[in-house]
Every structure is written in structure tokens, then in C-alpha cells.
């Protein structure tokens, strides 16, 4: 024991039960654990007056760290979070798509700046309380689904690169949630009974539209609701209130024939609606793909795999084709010129061909690839008809796209 310094591990502690138990487990394993809690937003400015939780969560993390006897620091990431997550959240909605801020936060905040800071603090790894498994193989490090299927968070981590995975640790991947709670009790942590967080952290009241209108007043602009033929059926009170696949809140259901949101058009501020059948998609164009498979991009052509188009869905069969994305420009812009998360940042694009048509793939959401339990990466779901693209494959997807077919 004498002379060997324990391995230094940074744990991203949110103040919740999962990351608290993560820290406790690593401490018990003899590591030098450093807890870091990120202050991500100024409650009153961002989320209105109803909030309570940011300060309380930071306090909980601090108490857990005190209990465990580990070093604990609070880093103010509010500016980074606003630039990389909240602004993106608002701009993505404005561009007619539906963002996933938790993925952006992992991609651009936790596994970017925090990871760099952890390295600079002399840590040899960084652990989080995500329910995912990290598997070391002779080919490198792989990301897998966790033992507890109900808690699977792989969908939220699809942007994690190999380099990041090499540095990351996920000690909860082999545990059930109930076991984690029991461990929290055993360790005597104050957060043992704390409820899981439900909403997006910076919108605790769930009123996304209200937040976006505060950040981007133009988002409240109303417009027409039209059918696929362009016939005006009614008016809406701002695109931010709608997401593709939504039925409720339209107030337009015709007798016996429910209508669904098929598409949001930021250029014309129109909501296009249609029947449930029109929602079915067979092809899903992707941007900003993170590829974790061994095959070079060029060899991923109609590759059979499973895919999840939303966080809680069981993977469905599909065939994936990848291609380099020449354009660094986002595929779609909001009327204000803001570019949202739907654009991706160049790199790799792709097309998913679903074996069975599935409904409601909202642009801005994530498509995550699986082979068995292994995550092969994922991509952002692009809008079905990117205007004025020079990409031949994307151009093909324009005419082939489900919505184009549905509209035609």
C-alpha cells in the first residue's frame, strides 16, 4: 500500500442517486475520487421563477461528497451550457425540429469540457452514473446496453467517441436500479430516496414552449395548419408547440379520422397534418453520424443492424448506408437564420432503410445503431427534404423520403 498513489477518478456528480452511488462504489474500490458538480444554468433567467432544483441538487452532491469523504468541486458551466445546449434547444425548435438537449449536453459539455478538465486535474478516468456498459475488447473499447433494460441510456450517449469511451467509466452498467437504490441506503447517502429526474433539467415545469418564447420571442408567431394538399385547415399558435407525430392539441380531428403532425415548415411557418398512415416512414436520412463500428465508413452499405429512433423504443431492424458529408452547412435554417441541432456539423451522413415502416421520426431526434447489445453509434435525424443540397444521396432521399411520397 505504501508508496502507490491510488488511481484518481473524476465523478460527474449531479446530486442524484445514480451518480452518488457511482462515486461511492469507486471510493469503496480504493480510488481517489473527485466529485465535480456542474452548475449548468441560472435558474431564474432561464427557467422562470418556478424552479427550485439546481441549488438543491448541488447541495445534495456536496452532502454526498462530505459523507463519502471525497474532494468535491462545483464548476460553473452556465455559459458553456447556454451556448451549447440551451441555445441549440431553442434554435432547433425554431428550425421546425425536436431537439434532445441531454444528448447535446453529453456531447458538448460533459464529455467535452468536463472530460478535458478531468484530465487536467490529473485524473486517469472519468465516471458517470449512466446505465450503459463499457466493454474492453482486443479491438478496443465498446459501448453496450446495460443489464437493466428499463434504464438503458445508450440512446443518450450515441455521440460518445472512441477516444472519450477510452477515458470514461460507467460503474452502474451491470446493476439494476433497485440495486443502486439499495446501495445508496447501504452507503448512507441522503439521496437514497430522491426521485428520478423526469424532465429536461433546465425546464423543470415541462413548459418548453414558454422557455423558447422567452429566449426567442419570434417563436410565438402563429401560422396556418394545412393538409398535404396545402388546404388550410386552421391556425396554430407557434411551431414550438408541435412536434412531428403529435396528435393532441391540434383541435382538428375530423369525425373518426384523427390528424397527426407530419411536418413543420419554418420557412412558411406552416404545420402540415395528415393521416396516421402518412406518418409511416421507411427511410430516415441522418446527419452528424458518430460511427463506432470497425468498418470504414465507405464499407457501410446497406449494413443490417437494429436501430432506435426514440429513447424508450425497442430496437427495430434496418439497413444502414453511410457516406461522408461534404457540406459543413446545416441542412435547414430557421427563419431567423439560427441553426439548430438538426444540421449536424458535417462529418458523416447516412440513410437508414427500415425493414418495417415506422411512424413519426421527428427531425432533430436521434437514431442509434445496435448490433446485439453493442452500440455502433448513431446519427441525428435530418429533415426529410433538405432544400438545395448537392449531395446525390441526399437528393435521392428527397424524392424517396416518406413524407415526399406521402405528400405526392
Amino acid at each position: 500500500m505504501i508508496g502507490t498513489a491510488p488511481e484518481r477518478v473524476v465523478v460527474a456528480m449531479s446530486g442524484g442517486v445514480d451518480s452518488s452511488v457511482t462515486a461511492a462504489l469507486l471510493k469503496r474500490a480504493g480510488k481517489e475520487v473527485i466529485g465535480i458538480t456542474l452548475r449548468l444554468y441560472d435558474s431564474p433567467q432561464v427557467v422562470g421563477s418556478r424552479t427550485c432544483c439546481a441549488g438543491r441538487d448541488i447541495g445534495d452532491a456536496r452532502r454526498v461528497a462530505e459523507r463519502l469523504g471525497i474532494a468535491h468541486y462545483i464548476f460553473d458551466y452556465a455559459e458553456r451550457f447556454r451556448e451549447n445546449v440551451i441555445d441549440d434547444f431553442a434554435d432547433t425548435y425554431l428550425a421546425g425540429a425536436t431537439p434532445v438537449p441531454c444528448i447535446r449536453c453529453n456531447e458538448r459539455v460533459k464529455f467535452a469540457d468536463l472530460l478535458e478538465h478531468a484530465r487536467e486535474l490529473g485524473a486517469t478516468s472519468m465516471a458517470t452514473g449512466h446505465y450503459v456498459r463499457r466493454v474492453e475488447t482486443s479491438n478496443g473499447v465498446e459501448l453496450h446496453r446495460p443489464r437493466d433494460d428499463n434504464r438503458d441510456q445508450t440512446w443518450f450517449l450515441f455521440t460518445t467517441t472512441r477516444e472519450q469511451l477510452a477515458f470514461l467509466r460507467f460503474p452502474l452498467g451491470d446493476l439494476e436500479k433497485s440495486e443502486v437504490r439499495a446501495l445508496a441506503e447501504e452507503f448512507g447517502l441522503v439521496v437514497a430516496d430522491k426521485p428520478d429526474s423526469q424532465d429536461i433539467c433546465f425546464v423543470p415545469d415541462g413548459d418548453y414552449a414558454g422557455l423558447i418564447k422567452r429566449l426567442r420571442p419570434e417563436a410565438g408567431q402563429g401560422g396556418e395548419i394545412v393538409d398535404q394538399q396545402g388546404v388550410v385547415l386552421g391556425r396554430h399558435k407557434g411551431l414550438v408547440h408541435y412536434t412531428v407525430g403529435q396528435r393532441r392539441g391540434l383541435g382538428l380531428d375530423r369525425a373518426g379520422k384523427p390528424l397527426y403532425v407530419l411536418k413543420l415548415e419554418p420557412e412558411t411557418c406552416r404545420v402540415v397534418v395528415g393521416s396516421r398512415e402518412a406518418l409511416l416512414a421507411r427511410e430516415v436520412p441522418l446527419h452528424g453520424v458518430n460511427w463506432l463500428g470497425e468498418q470504414p465508413i465507405a464499407q457501410v452499405r446497406a449494413m443490417p443492424l437494429s436501430v432506435r429512433l426514440r429513447s424508450s423504443q425497442e430496437p427495430i431492424r434496418a439497413h444502414l448506408t453511410l457516406h461522408p458529408q461534404a457540406s459543413e452547412k446545416p441542412a435547414l435554417r430557421s427563419p431567423t437564420g439560427a441553426t439548430g441541432g438538426i444540421g449536424g456539423t458535417g462529418g458523416i451522413g447516412g440513410i437508414l432503410r427500415l425493414d418495417e415502416p415506422t411512424e413519426a421520426v421527428a427531425p432533430g431526434q436521434a437514431a442509434v445503431f445496435y448490433q446485439g447489445t453493442r452500440v455502433l453509434g448513431g446519427g441525428w435525424i435530418a429533415p426529410p427534404a433538405p432544400p438545395a443540397t448537392k449531395e446525390p444521396e441526399l437528393a435521392r432521399s428527397e424524392t424517396d423520403s416518406p413524407l415526399a411520397r406521402a405528400m405526392g
Binding site: A5, R8, I58, A71, Y73, F75, R119, E120, G122
Partner: protein
Amino acid sequence: MTQPEPQSLYLDYNATAPLLPSARWAMERVLDEIGNASSQHRFGRRARAQIEEARAAVAELACAEPSQVTFTSGGTEANNLALWGSFPSIWISSGEHESVAQMATQETRGLQKALQQESQQESQQESQQDGQSGAGQAAPYFLPITPAGVLCLDSLADLLKQAEATGTVPRLVSVQAANNETGVLQPLEEILSLLEPLGVALHIDAAQYLGRLPCSEAIARASLVSISGHKFGGAQGAGALIIRDPELFVPILRGGGQESRRRAGTENVAAIAAFGAAAAESLNGWPNYSRLANLRDDLERRCVAAAAEAGIGFKIAGAESPRLANTSCFALDGGEATLHLAALDLAGVAVSSGSACSSGRVAPSGVLLAMGWSESEARGALRVSFGWATADDTPVRFAEIWRETCLAPLVRRKVVRSARAEATAQGATA
């Protein structure tokens, strides 16, 4: 269980200094006794004697009469009290401690008005006072400081002249003796000589100064002076406001006869006794500040050299001004104070960032911004402060650890980023 605790280096005396042995002894003696100082019995008398003994020492520290000393919970309360009675007819030096600066907020103003209305009903005298302060109903004014951190005397002279012409001369000007972050000393004598002819009162926040350095001419003359006990070896929980001009004073805490009705509430006798003991120790033999000045200069030289060798910009706040010998505030170009605080802490070194920080919210230091630093420069600022127990090998040890935990990662980051930028540029041309 047996993680080796790195040998620690405590360099945060401006936050709080370690308790002096004499202060500890005085405190322990009080803790062993019972007695509320307001009680008439022997127990009460003994507690009262402790307070009065401390009062005499603190008075001497500030060249004041014992009757002019009001004990408070610390420097913040003393500052709040000092400004309360003159609000809003106050000019405040930029870069003051938050306990002074925040007295200028709208919230404070609302509170103050409510309180004054209440006291008007109670006391005729105070309503007259309210009438007086009504002359200068403008919001408190923040006086500029130079990039060297010193109050700009020319501006003050000009502003006073204008105010005199328009009949808006303030009741009170509040200036620190020494800034808590940079250690820069203010030209108090010159300020006083501008104020006195106009009958403007001066409040000096001497929390970082008294107990460390002998009372100055200006401190001996100022109408109000704040002192903190734990910055020079007393216990946390006791400070004092010297009140030479009772006309400027309105109590905040009411409801008891303690401290001549200026500050109601049972006294923190143990902390006051420690405060008194620390004051007495200073008066018996001033801390060797030329030793601390040498340590500070040595530490700065080493950091300057290391940063220059690494090719990273390095800036010391107020280096060209007279400063407290124990304080150094500096920033590495591109450095982040919160990260560096953590890195240093993990290596056992306790320093402070220039920023105000609560629940993790980091606001860049007000005084550095007032000195013309950019927000990102200010976010990088670290403050190192010494005191009576600081060892002579501190500069060597600090510079070595700082180079390894703060400077080296910045250099590596720079290398990685330029490599990335190069790769991107090559990718773009390919």
C-alpha cells in the same frame, strides 16, 4: 482510508487566518464560563469584563476610544451598519467588498425606506435624519479606480466640485483601506483631505488592514471604520465598527440594550475575547510584514519566470501600486480559476479565486473588472495571501506545485489545440 494527505499549504489568509494561540487561549477561557454579559450577577459581570477588555484593545488598534467601538458579527455586518445610516447619499469606491457594494442595490434601498418609515413613527429624531438624507436622493455613486487599482483622486475631486455646485454632495464616502483581492492600498489621507473641507464623512473598510498594520492617520480620523477579527488571528464571528460620528449611525438589530443600543443581541463573548487577544498581540509586536513582502515578491518572481518560460501570458493585479505585503492576485492567460483552485487543492494548496462564488455561481471579480481587466482575464485570477504562520519555503513550494498543476496543463492544452487547428487546416486544403 489511508489516502496520503498531501502536505498542505494554507495561503488564504484574506479569507481567514489561522487562530493565534493567544486568541485560542482567550476563547477557551470564556467557553469554560457561564454568563450573559447583560446579567447583573457575578457570572454576567465576568462575561462583561471579557468584552470590555477586548473593547479596549480593539479601540487602541484603531486609534479610537473604547466607547466608539461597537462589536458586530464581523466585517460584513460592520460594513452594512456603516452604510445603513447614510443610504442612499453614499459614494462608493469601485471594487469594494460585496458587503459594501451590495448596500447600493435597489433591494437595500427598498428595505431601508421601509425601515425608516417604521422608525419615523417611533422616533422624531430619526424622521429628521430621514429629512436630511432626502437632500441626496440619487442612487449611490461608484467612484472609478485606475488600472492600478487605486481610487482615482482627480475624478473624486472633480465629482465633488460638481456635486458642490449642484447641491448633491454625498453624506458618506466608503473606501477600503486595502482591497481584499488585490491588496492594493488606497490613498486614504488624500481622500480625507478632499472630503473634510466639504463636511463629507469617510467610512473605511479596514477589514484586511487593521491588526496587520498599525493604525494610519486616516483611520484615526475617519468617521466610521470596519474591522474584522478573523483576518489576523482572531476567531470567526467577531468584528467591530468604530463609530466616531453617531449622527451617521442607524442601528439594524434592535430589541436589546447591548453595545449601547447600537447592536442588540447577546454578544459572542468567546469570539470577542479572541478578537481582543489578537488585537493585543498585534499591538505588542506587529507581524513582520517585510518578511511577508519578501515572500510575496519571491513567489511572484518565480511565477513570472515560469510563465515566461512556458510562453503563457501572466498578469499581476496592482503590482505597480502600494499593496498589502501579504497579498498577490494574478492570472494566467486562458486560465480558469475554478479549475486551478481544484487542481491546487488536490495538491494540498489552499488559495482563493478573485471571483465571488456562491452555490457554484461564479461572477468575475468586481475589482478586477473596475481595473479594466476583461471578463476572461478576471475569471482566471487567483489570490494568494499570507500571514503569521506562513513558512519561508512557501514561494518555492507554491511555484513548483502551481507550475505543475496550473501552468503545465495550459501549455498542453495550447499544444493540443494548435495541433487540432493544424489538422483541420490541412483537412480543409486536402
